[in-house]
């Protein structure tokens, strides 16, 4: 049986103000219900006015994920009831989202298709407490109306490794675009995998088998609101195991929404299909639609910086560094930018890009507290000996060994101290200052050859 996995990811944007009102979107850790107004508190009569920057960022993310940007788009109301939803509906996008049909290429070479990227608003936060032995739920609306972008994939994953790679790439792109902190711990990114299993053992004698196995399973289990990569890994693994057991007993897993319970280390039922919501979407009458033209879209496109994959390939080629090093250096845009500044400065001091990358990676440089100039100075100090190419030293060593056959014989007969004599000779022959340990290493290699 093969897992079929799709992902819905919510990314909270780091705009200054909320999606439909002027309240500060910087709500994390703030006093409850101090970042609210008539709009995000859903007071009677209040009306939404969309945040231009949030819309542009959503489109920018879509562009970075190779999506099509339809010229016409609109907001819709998604109607449902929950105490954290102030208006009784969430303003979202239904049939005409900002971005459609994109993709992300994984490290494994596999391409994950992105169905859509759309804009919506966050809900308030529920806090469950016990006060005087009574269970209560408290609601803080500071988060209500914070801009959210939802990225939906096709069910293209069949293993957790790819899922994690996808999530890391998505997180990295959001950070490169500087549109979200994508901080899992602060809930900036929330993950909802949907998992089912495709049987590849049934009807093996049937000649239509090929067709059948390519069809998607007729059920889907959604795991809601996971806020850590590790939990998503565990939840998927758990679901695969759980569903496998059901299918092996000739059962069919129930189509439902489940949640990850970290304490119990398992997924638990939240809502089954029969109770599934009917969201009664309809076009949001309070917000006129959005229409793009080529000029406006180009202006957004221009704001997209070089993205991680492109940067990585360029680094490998331009700086002649390994794929692994390029990967590390481009993991965060700030580090990549720091590296390039150092490389530029290093050039003037005759340092190669490779030397700079080695130093930054090996020494695990904290770029927050180090200036590029310091990096260059430090590398220089270390490499004053290293400037001579290894092959140059080898040539000198060969020459010295040929000219001092006696000493070589002594060494090979057990007189180890003869190496000191030979080192002295090498240092004498060389016009440049050489590092003793390096010379010794090369000499010993040759002598023990």
């Amino acid at each position: 049986m093969k897992p079929v996995i799709g992902l819905e990811v919510h990314v909270e944007l780091k705009t200054k103000s909320k999606m439909f009102c002027g309240c500060s979107a910087d709500y994390f850790g703030k006093k409850p219900n101090t970042h609210t107004c008539p709009v995000c508190l859903g007071l009677p009569g209040a009306l939404p006015v969309p945040n231009k920057t949030a819309i542009e960022w959503c489109v920018m993310l879509g562009m970075a994920l190779d999506c099509n940007i339809p010229l016409f788009s609109k907001f819709d109301r998604k109607n449902y009831f929950y105490p954290d939803l102030a208006k009784g509906y969430q303003i979202s996008q239904y049939d005409e989202p900002f971005c459609l049909k994109g993709s992300i290429k994984l490290g494994s070479g596999k391409t994950i298709r992105i169905t859509r990227v759309h804009m919506e608003e966050d809900t308030g936060k529920l806090i469950h407490e016990n006060v005087n032995g009574q269970g209560i739920t408290l609601i803080d609306f500071n988060r209500s109306g914070v801009p959210l972008v939802e990225i939906v994939t096709e069910p293209d994953f069949d293993n957790t490794k790819d899922v994690l790679d996808y999530l890391k790439k998505l997180q990295q792109i959001a950070r490169y675009l500087d549109i979200s902190n994508a901080d899992m711990e602060k809930g900036d990114m929330r993950l909802e995998p949907n998992i089912s299993l495709r049987s590849n053992t049934t009807n093996t004698t049937n000649n239509t088998n090929q067709q059948i196995t390519n069809k998607l399973p007729n059920y889907k289990v959604e795991v809601k609101n996971i806020n850590s990569f590790r939990f998503v890994e565990k939840a998927i693994a758990f679901e695969i195991k759980r569903q496998t057991e059901i299918i092996e007993k000739k059962g069919i897993p129930v189509q439902e929404t489940r949640g990850w319970d970290e304490n119990k280390q398992k997924t638990v039922t939240q809502r089954v299909k029969e109770e599934a919501s009917d969201y009664r979407y309809f076009p949001e009458p309070d917000i006129p639609p959005i229409r793009w033209n080529d000029k406006k879209l180009l202006m957004i496109k221009k704001q997209i910086p070089e993205l991680p994959d492109t940067k990585k390939r360029r680094f490998q080629k331009q700086y002649n560094i390994s794929q692994y090093d390029a990967e590390i250096l481009t993991r965060e845009k700030t580090l990549a930018d720091f590296y390039e500044t150092c490389v530029n400065d290093g050039q003037k001091a005759n340092l190669t890009a490779k030397q700079v990358s080695n130093y930054i990676i090996n020494k695990k440089i904290d770029i927050e507290s180090t200036l590029p100039a310091e990096i260059i100075k430090n590398i220089k100090a270390l490499t004053i000996y290293l400037r001579i190419d290894e092959s140059e030293i080898k040539k000198i060593v060969e020459r010295v060994l040929n000219e001092n056959k006696n000493a070589v014989g002594d060494y090979r007969n057990g007189k180890v101290s003869a190496v000191q004599y030979l080192i002295g000779k090498v240092l004498m022959v060389s016009k440049e200052k050489l590092e003793v340990s390096r010379v010794k290493k090369i000499l010993e290699e040759k002598l023990n050859d």
């Binding site: 008539p38 508190l41 859903g42 007071l43 009677p44 009569g45 209040a46 009306l47 939404p48 006015v49 969309p50 109301r77 109607n79 009831f81 105490p83 102030a86 208006k87 009784g88 509906y89 609601i139 609306f141 009917d278 009664r280 979407y281 309809f282 009458p285 309070d286 917000i287 006129p288």
Partner: protein, 458 residues
């Protein structure tokens, strides 16, 4: 002293000349409200606040401050949020709701010196055509005991007709200003959709709600619109269109104005006496130089069906926020009409029915709008009746919702097309008032005032 002879402009002139004070005006209005308490026009009377504001206004007047509504008492429908003053939407759900903010229009009015004298009764959540659906009891017609004043802005219409204030703000989603204006023998304006901000006014059906007002005269109606109209950054559906100099239209005659008479509005179902009265007015306009043309708005017959899908759908969503958590009480406290509309709206939006009902209705809405677009290529304005019948007795239609819905037959089209309409009084039939409706293209309010003036005379 009797202030009923004064228009807003007249009262302002007298206030400036210190013939009387704003305090006098406010007290006189409060007296009227108290005396006619049986009409049930107000849910909340802001006596204390209004008197305080009047004192402040009198001081400003003394200091030579001149603002268009300085010291003038007006009322607002109880769906307008007024900071610190209870706002109920005539529903027990909001019985104790004290708004944290004021509607844009309320601020605009107060900015030019208006004094809010009270919050008027209406059909709960503005759902109704008669004023009977209020959780605070029905409003009664000031003309004949036991008759409805028209709704849903019932109290607003009555407050102006019965001289309890100089003007009143209402809302019109399917006729809720024009119908009560017609039933109360006053002028009621439903501006172009988006012309006046909806921010801070409890939403009924967001794509249809129009914010307008009641006055005794066309001149006052023009003055009120020049104050309330304009773009509001808090309402994304208000265009940046310049606000016309409406007063200038009042000086123009109607020579050469092309008036369309749509046959669908004079067909079966219209009370003959009303038809005759309107035809007499049309003749008089022709005499004044207007060109009368017979026209057709072929999709009119679908308007009510279309409206009674779109409107409840939006209502069901707009009333979703009343969950009793942040304000108000629990959902079972909705009145019968609100429950009916929530149910109907939820049904037509629900999975499997959306295309057959809601989508279909929105397509027909396009047809209705196109009808008007075509007609306004040929004529400047269209004249129709406001209501197919005379005002009815309280209780007469309340058992049959559909027959009540059908009383909006001549008014809902303007809401579906987003165009402006004005109801002007053209006299009485058996002591019951009759109104005439003038419709025009988007943002043609000036023209409506111009033709309205020709009908009412000076």
């Amino acid at each position: 002293m009797n202030y009923s002879a004064y228009t807003i402009q007249g009262a302002r002139a007298s206030l400036k000349k210190k013939h009387f004070s704003s305090t006098h005006l406010v007290k006189a209005c409060i007296d009227e409200i108290k005396e006619k308490e049986n009409l049930n026009a107000f849910i909340t009377v802001c006596e204390k606040e209004a008197l305080k504001k009047a004192t402040e206004a009198d001081k400003k007047i003394k200091d030579g401050v001149d603002l268009p509504l300085l010291g003038i008492p007006i009322s607002v429908k109880d769906i307008y949020l007024t900071k610190g003053i209870r706002t109920t939407a005539a529903s027990k759900i909001l019985d104790d709701f004290i708004p944290q903010y004021s509607a844009t229009v309320v601020k605009k009015l107060e900015d030019v010196g208006a004094i809010i004298i009270g919050k008027t009764n209406c059909d709960a959540w503005a759902h109704g055509s008669s004023g009977e659906n209020s959780d605070y009891g029905p409003t009664e017609s000031p003309f004949l005991e036991g008759y409805v004043p028209g709704g849903s802005s019932s109290g607003s219409a009555v407050s102006v007709a019965a001289q309890m204030c100089f003007a009143s703000m209402g809302s019109d989603t399917g006729g809720s200003i024009r119908l009560p204006a017609s039933f109360c023998e006053i002028v009621g304006l439903k501006p172009t959709y988006g012309r006046v901000s909806r921010y801070g006014i409890i939403a009924m059906a967001s794509s249809l709600d129009s914010i307008g007002h009641f006055t005794n005269t066309i001149e006052e109606s023009a003055l009120m619109l020049s104050i309330t109209a304009g773009k509001d950054p808090n309402d994304a559906t208000t265009p940046d269109e310049t606000v016309d100099d409406y007063q200038s239209y009042l000086k123009k005659d109607i020579k050469g104005i092309r008036i369309g008479i749509p046959k669908e509005y004079f067909a079966q179902g219209l009370d003959k006496r009303i038809k005759e009265k309107i035809e007499a007015e049309i003749k008089s306009l022709e005499k004044q130089g207007a060109k009368i043309e017979n026209i057709s708005l072929p999709n009119t017959e679908y308007a009510i069906a279309c409206y009674y899908i779109i409107q409840p759908a939006e209502v069901s969503s707009n009333l979703g926020r009343y969950d009793g958590i942040r304000y108000g009480s629990a959902r079972q406290n909705f009145g019968e009409e609100a429950k009916r509309r929530i149910m109907l709206g939820t049904y037509v939006l629900s999975s499997g029915y959306y295309d057959a009902y809601y989508k279909k209705a929105m397509q027909i809405r396009t047809l209705i709008k196109k009808d008007f677009d075509e007609v306004f290529k040929k004529v400047d304005v269209v004249i129709t009746p406001v209501s197919p019948t005379l005002p009815w007795k309280i209780g007469e239609k309340s058992s049959d919702p559909l027959s009540m819905y059908l009383s909006d037959v001549y008014t809902v089209t303007a809401n579906l097309a987003g165009i402006p309409g004005i109801s002007v009084p053209i006299g009485l039939i058996q002591s019951l008032p009759v109104g005439l409706q003038i419709l025009g293209p988007h943002f043609s309010e000036g023209k409506l005032f111009q033709v309205g003036k020709a009908i009412l005379g000076v």
